[in-house]
């Protein structure tokens, strides 16, 4: 799950949680401008794909890499 308010996702038991940006724009940051916004979005999605292929034993937070 990609969430800006990831703490709730973790405490309610979502096994794989990716740190999102803000509630208004979870998968990016438009204030960075279109190019950097897209680069940030890509890292978030990349982290989500990594999380899907990672074994977890408890709710785990995955951080997107800094683009």
């Amino acid at each position: 799950m990609i969430s800006a308010i990831f703490s709730l996702a973790l405490t309610t038991g979502a096994p794989r949680v990716v740190r999102g940006s803000r509630i208004e724009h979870v998968c990016g940051n438009p204030s960075l401008g279109p190019e950097k916004d897209r680069a940030y979005s890509k890292e978030i999605v990349r982290a989500a794909l990594t999380a899907l292929t990672t074994e977890v034993t408890e709710p785990t937070l995955f951080e997107p890499a800094i683009p």
Binding site: A4, I5, S7, L8, T12, S21, R22, I23, E24
Partner: protein, 427 residues
């Protein structure tokens, strides 16, 4: 800060040749007040209607219920900062108020344009027949309804300012009738020094900010000195709340807050009421929510609190900082009670959205969904406001005629004696 409250009872209300109060009877010069309201070009139409206790009347399109009061001395104006009113700190000197009367702002002016509840203009209904021993207090007040249409071509903030200004104009005019009179009852509110052995308690109010829903830092919503945007924890003296520093939606409820009154009554007896903190909710990042919660707890600690009552009549997104504030208070060593509404049991989840282990003393004000145990209420003779309303306020579906039979007692001004504000839900 010492505040004297002069209470003038109102048991009768009627239209008459002049606006005046005498021996519990409030008379209102309808034409004069409507004329003054219509001086504002943003108001297209205005009417005044009276709704008395036990009458067969429902009031709809309610935007606020206002406690009529006036600052006689001590500086500032009641309901400071809103609609261009002075921002001087309130809660001192003397305030005169009409006890048993209220001004109800009735209009289909939306709060804001955009997602969230702002477009639901029919969030609340008052049925003046009450609901037996579960009657909300509004059905027991002599309600002076200000029914307004604002110019739809104007900016929504402008429309909100116009509608609420008109309601405050009437509230001010009614309260003015008792400015220079000797009050039949005078109460004094002062947090005098007490025995230091008494447990020190802070009252923490979680108030929603409309900032994100409205897409503006000036969005219409819970006003604290006219400010609705997200802000750090704000220390407030209880007298400021009595004078209307916090207002919206149910300003009457804030000014007549039972929790506050009880804390005051018991100050010096079995507790030491150290003050209030207003926490703004609906920050949009985890970081900000965590900071808001931790800093609120720190603020309570700096006030000397040993215990805290955290009232979080908010749900979903807003709930997170409310419950985290309660958690943070516990982590700071404060004995904390969290007052909150419960989620609907049929959803199959826990009673509250995010149960945190440290938050172990919880007072539930119920699920607040009257439609879960429906008891139909019979038709009324008259509706003030619009007849066509939305029955299910959470989903926005289900149009009904407010004059007809309703499947349950619909209120929407979520009142309970424990509540510091309205919630969307009926209690």
């Amino acid at each position: 800060m010492k505040l004297e409250l002069g209470n003038f009872p109102v048991t009768e209300v009627a239209f008459g040749r002049e606006t005046r109060w005498a021996e519990s009877r409030l008379e209102i010069d309808r034409a004069e007040l409507v004329g003054r309201i219509l001086e504002d070009p943003r108001i297209l139409s205005a009417e005044l209607h009276l709704a008395r206790p036990r009458e067969s009347v429902r009031i709809t399109l309610i935007r606020d219920v206002i406690q009529p009061m006036v600052k006689v001395s001590g500086g500032g104006a009641v309901y400071p900062g809103i609609c261009g009113r002075p921002v001087e700190t309130v809660g001192r000197g003397r305030t005169h108020r009409l006890d048993g009367a209220a001004v109800v702002e009735v209009s289909d002016t939306p709060l804001y344009m955009g997602p969230g509840m702002g477009n639901y203009t029919d969030r609340a209904v008052i049925d003046m027949r009450g609901n037996g021993d579960r009657s909300p207090p509004f059905s027991k007040l002599n309600n002076v309804c200000v029914v307004l249409e604002t110019d739809p071509t104007r900016d929504v903030l402008d429309r909100n300012d116009a509608a609420h200004s008109a309601a405050l104009l009437v509230s001010d005019a009614l309260a003015e009738t008792v400015r220079n009179l000797e009050p039949p009852e005078l109460e004094t509110f002062e947090l005098h020094p007490t025995d230091t052995a008494l447990p020190k308690v802070a009252y923490v109010l979680c108030q929603h900010s409309p900032e994100h829903h409205a897409g503006s830092v000036r969005g219409w919503g819970d006003h604290l000195y006219g400010i609705t945007r997200l802000h750090p924890p704000w220390v407030i003296h209880p007298n400021e709340l009595i004078d209307g520093a916090l207002s919206f939606d149910n300003s009457w409820g804030f000014a007549n807050n039972h929790m506050l009154r009880e804390l005051y009554q018991r100050h010096g007896e079995d507790l030491n009421f150290v003050g209030c903190i207003v926490v703004r909710t609906r920050w949009s990042s985890q970081l900000e929510k965590n900071v808001a919660a931790r800093q609120s707890a720190k603020t309570a600690k700096m006030l000397g609190a040993e215990g805290a009552i955290v009232v979080g009549m908010v749900g979903g997104n807003d709930f997170m900082e409310a419950v985290r504030t309660a958690q943070a208070c516990e982590l700071e060593g404060l004995d904390t009670v969290f007052v909150v509404m419960e989620d609907e049991p049929s959803e199959g989840g826990p009673p509250i959205l995010e149960p945190l282990p440290e938050v172990k003393a919880i007072v539930s004000v119920g699920v607040g969904r009257a439609e879960l145990s429906p008891e139909p209420t019979s038709p009324v003779s008259r509706v003030i406001g619009r007849r066509n309303i939305t029955l299910n306020m959470s989903t926005g579906v289900g149009k009904v005629d407010a004059q007809g039979q309703l499947p349950f007692y619909r209120s929407g001004l979520g009142w309970s004696s424990l509540d510091s504000r309205t919630s969307c839900f009926e209690v």
